[in-house]
């Protein structure tokens, strides 16, 4: 393995002297060349590593943290290459800085897999400069020096200096042209179980979330917003303004904001608005879009997403055809902290602060809305009460900025749970039809998926397994346009498609009289030895997790003590996950006892954090398969709060056992891949227990669809 990276012309490394004589090092791997002009600036407050002359070593954490653990994981990577004692360093969340950091995004399970090299280089470059500073100071050859936990040592002379003592000298040195990374065999931090750096703040109530923001002169704001298909006709704010504590009422588009000195006054004022709405589009109810989907999947699309072989011929010659349709409801993200955002927009500058999965998009969308240049806008990141994709949108931050601009005051816009449930950007509703052609000699020879979903350019995942393993394979996708807005929701498309694909594979296996795990392995072997078209997954890794999960879950033994097993596997965000679910069914009651998960995500940075992401993903997948459903009546959500929108709770939570395949490969995603296989594993176990195939989420055994 070559651990030396040469800086390309487009790379950008910068060193900054700190006040009081310290070193700050920033690294940007993909920026345009013009950023090089910034290298001469002093006191730029953002980087990966900050070392003060007093010896305080700070690792900066640039990515938005919403529970996925990046504020711990990414600094671990820097600390490893810097060679410091993990227990002695400080960690600091940075604000948005697109000049220094390449991807301040929480989405696509992408923080570690896209920034692995940058973070390693940031730490390694700083270490190299500290080594050179020591060599210069001691007048010895740098190759004779080594580092150990925050010190540079020269074993020949017995000299030793802390990073703090060397920081000011290091800051005067040239940036190394070649950065040598550690041999992974020498890792002391990466691969070890490290506790979250945020937990102390959380368990004492000191961690500050978006709802907790308080600034001088700030007003709390709540808004009345139109439901889907409506717009504002007129409003009367007399009663709202009469509420004690209400300071202002402003109109932003079709929404009306009430600003007050407390959350309660803002809510009372908002609820006291007299508003007349009018229709601007047909008002959609659940039966409208489900009927639209049903019509769409009778047709083929003009441009199939994938079309291997000839499905028509395969189905014409089939000895048996299986057909199944799966139905997905809309799902709200429902993070525990509803949407909220702080904005202080002035004539010449603006400060934004709060939870966001994409502060860069927040800044550019706000800049456009309020008519200020991006460099006049600061964006800070608070703790975030979950996101699940909802905070990839900038609707709520743009709204806060507009309210601040219109009211000429710093504001914290807060959403109630009801506002949040009606607030849109949901996981799309959809309908997914599958057909399988079985030959006379019991081979799967044809596969046709036909999907329709709301406001989605591609409702399918056409290269997902078993694509590549079936000689005639076609995927069609249809888009139903709607006023109901959709967006990324943890493991977009994968979150439902894995359930449909893996349920259908189970159904085919049973039809063929084959063991579902053996059948998957047979298809995977086919994808390796005799692939059709491109194969969008690594067959060996796929087989690795399928076999490990089967072993962990004692696959093959059905009905022992009333427990039935189901299998599900899926590849997403670079990571392979296979799961076995242990389920019992008494009457109509589904009880999930345990989920076993085998995971190949490449190198695991923090096994403790990685386990937690898998546990969370599995509970998320299970909870929504059992309970999640958002329906509409004329553009208005029927489930307005947690009394009618059911979520998984502690008494429904199974035991979970997670194992990771040992790997030295490039680290991959973990925030999302745990979720997709769970619904299928549980549905397949329910089939094993009852003979009923569940074709709709949330699962309902009272509906006889077997």
């Amino acid at each position: 393995m070559n651990n030396t990276l040469t800086l390309s012309r487009r790379s950008f490394l910068k060193v900054t002297s700190l006040a009081g004589g310290g070193l700050m090092l920033g690294f940007h791997a993909t920026a345009a060349g013009d950023l090089l002009t910034d290298a001469a600036e002093l006191f730029e407050p953002n980087a990966y590593v900050k070392i003060s002359a007093e010896g305080v070593i700070t690792i900066l954490a640039p990515n938005p943290e919403l529970g996925q653990g990046v504020r711990t994981t990414l600094p671990m990577i820097v600390a490893e290459e810097l060679d410091v004692d993990w227990n002695t360093i400080a960690i600091e969340q940075t604000p948005l800085n697109t000049k220094l950091y390449e991807r301040q995004v929480a989405g696509g399970s992408g923080a570690v897999r896209s920034s692995w090299d940058s973070f390693r280089k940031g730490g390694a470059a700083a270490r190299q400069m500290l080594l050179e500073a020591a060599a210069k100071k001691w007048n010895v050859n740098v190759s004779e020096c080594r580092t150990d936990k925050g010190f540079v040592l020269h074993p020949g002379s017995g000299k030793k200096a802390s990073y703090g003592e060397l920081a000011s000298t290091a800051a005067t040195l040239e940036i190394p042209k070649e950065i040598k990374l550690k041999d992974p065999a020498d890792y002391k931090i990466i691969g070890t179980r490290q506790r979250s750096v945020d937990n102390k703040g959380i368990i004492t109530g000191k961690a500050k979330y978006g709802f907790d923001i308080k600034r001088e002169g700030m007003l709390y704001a709540m808004l009345a917003r139109p439901t889907f298909g409506k717009k504002l006709k007129s409003f009367d704010d007399k009663a709202a303004r009469a509420v004690i504590g209400v300071k202002n009422v402003v109109q932003h588009g079709s929404s009306i904001a009430v600003l007050a000195t407390s959350t309660w006054a803002a809510k009372k004022g908002r609820d006291a608005l007299k508003i007349e709405w009018e229709d601007e589009a047909p008002l959609e109810s659940t039966s409208d879009y489900t009927h639209a989907f049903a019509k769409m999947i009778q047709q083929r699309s003009d441009a199939p997403k994938r079309n291997d072989g000839d499905v028509d011929q395969a189905f014409a010659g089939a000895a048996k055809i299986l057909e199944t349709t799966f139905e997905a409801p809309f799902l709200p993200h429902a993070p525990m902290e509803p949407m909220c955002y702080f904005a202080d927009v002035r004539d010449d500058a603006a400060d934004l602060f709060g939870p966001s999965q994409t502060p860069a998009r927040t800044r550019s969308d706000v800049a456009r809305a309020i008519g200020l240049a991006e460099d006049k806008i600061t964006v800070g990141m608070s703790h975030q009460g979950g996101g699940f994709g909802r905070r990839l949108q900038a609707d709520y931050s743009v709204e806060a900025a507009m309210v601040s601009k219109l009211a000429k005051a710093p504001v914290l816009v807060l959403w109630t749970r009801e506002d949040d449930m009606q607030g849109g950007f949901y996981r799309p509703a959809g309908l997914y039809k599958y057909r399988a052609a079985i030959s006379a000699n019991k081979e799967l020879i044809g596969w046709h998926m036909n999907a329709a979903a709301t406001n989605t350019g591609n409702a399918a995942r056409e290269n997902s397994f078993p694509a590549g393993a079936v000689p005639n394979f076609r995927v069609d996708s249809h888009n139903h346009q709607s006023k109901i807005t959709v967006g990324a929701w943890r493991a977009p498309n994968h979150n439902f498609i894995a359930y449909t694909e893996e349920s259908f594979i189970d159904e085919i296996a049973h039809e063929l009289g084959k063991d579902p795990v053996a059948f998957r392995l047979e298809l995977l072997e086919r994808a390796r030895k005799n692939p059709t078209g491109s194969v969008g997954y690594d067959v060996d890794k796929y087989i690795g997790v399928v076999k490990l999960a089967a072993e962990m879950g004692n696959w093959g033994k059905q009905g022992v003590n009333g427990i039935y097993k189901g299998f599900g596997a899926h590849y997403s965000f670079g990571t392979y996950v296979a799961q076995v679910a242990d389920v019992s069914v008494i009457g109509n009651k589904i009880k999930v006892h345990k989920i076993y998960a085998a995971v190949d995500c490449g190198r695991v940075i923090n096994p403790l954090g990685a386990e937690k992401q898998l546990e969370g993903g599995i509970i998320d997948g299970l909870g929504h398969a059992l309970y999640g459903e958002l329906t509409f009546d004329k553009g208005v959500v029927n489930q307005k709060n947690f009394n009618s929108y059911k979520m998984i709770r502690i008494q429904d939570t199974p035991d979970i056992e997670v194992r990771f395949i040992q790997s030295d490969a490039h680290p991959q995603g973990l925030g999302e891949p745990g979720l997709p296989p769970t619904g299928a594993a549980v549905a397949n176990a329910i089939f094993a227990a009852t003979g009923k195939r569940l074709k709709k989420q949330p699962f309902d055994l009272r509906v006889d669809i077997g």
Binding site: L66, G67, Q68, G69, R195, S196, D198, N199, K200, G201, I202, I203, T204, G205, K206, A207, K208, Y209, F211, D212, K214, Y220, I244, S262, T263, W264, A265, K268, A334, P335, M336, E337, P338, H383, Q384, G385, G386, G387, F388, L414, T416, R417, L608, K612, E615, G616, G617, I618, I619, D620, G623, N641, F642, N643, M647, I648, R649, I650, T653, I656
Partner: protein
């Protein structure tokens, strides 16, 4: 508007508030203690759980007037140095992910183990089913409650 004295974490705060203002907003906006969280506003998620005279209560659904002159404990007052067995167990088992619901979970768990020093799984289900964790930390919550129970038993036997 009326004047109320709230005894929170053994300290008195005098506030002016609409008597119907939920205690949650009085604690957060008027007193300035933001560890207690808003999640649903209708006592369905438990993020706002505090102790009122030692009992777990959803502060989002209790008018401030009903809490005046009673003993209120919030997450900030659970211990002075993170030493409450539930806080220690939460660290030991590394429960939180996003952390937003955890103040409520910790307050509910603390009330549970003060009432039932060694809770069974059924006791835990009964005491904790009113709380939602969207990140899915439930398996660790269950484990941490058992850890907290054993930590507090050890503590008690050492005294």
């Amino acid at each position: 508007m009326a004047s109320f004295t709230l005894n929170i974490n053994n300290r008195n705060y005098t506030i002016e508030a609409d008597p119907r203002m939920p205690l949650l907003w009085a604690i957060r906006d008027l007193v300035g203690l933001t560890g207690t969280k808003f999640g649903c506003g209708i006592a369905q998620c438990g993020a706002c759980t505090i102790h009122l005279n030692g009992n777990p209560v959803r502060s989002c659904s209790l008018p401030v007037s009903a809490a005046a002159n009673q003993k209120i404990t919030t997450i900030e007052g659970l211990s002075e140095d993170n030493s409450h067995p539930v806080q220690q167990a939460w660290i030991q088992e590394q429960v939180p992910q996003c952390g937003y619901c955890q103040s409520g979970q910790i307050m509910a768990a603390a009330a549970l183990i003060s009432r039932i020093p060694n809770p069974t799984d059924k006791d835990i289900d009964a005491a904790m089913q009113g709380l939602i964790c969207r990140c899915g930390t439930y398996t660790r919550i269950r484990k941490a409650i058992k850890t907290a129970a054993s930590l507090s038993t050890t503590k008690a036997s050492n005294q």
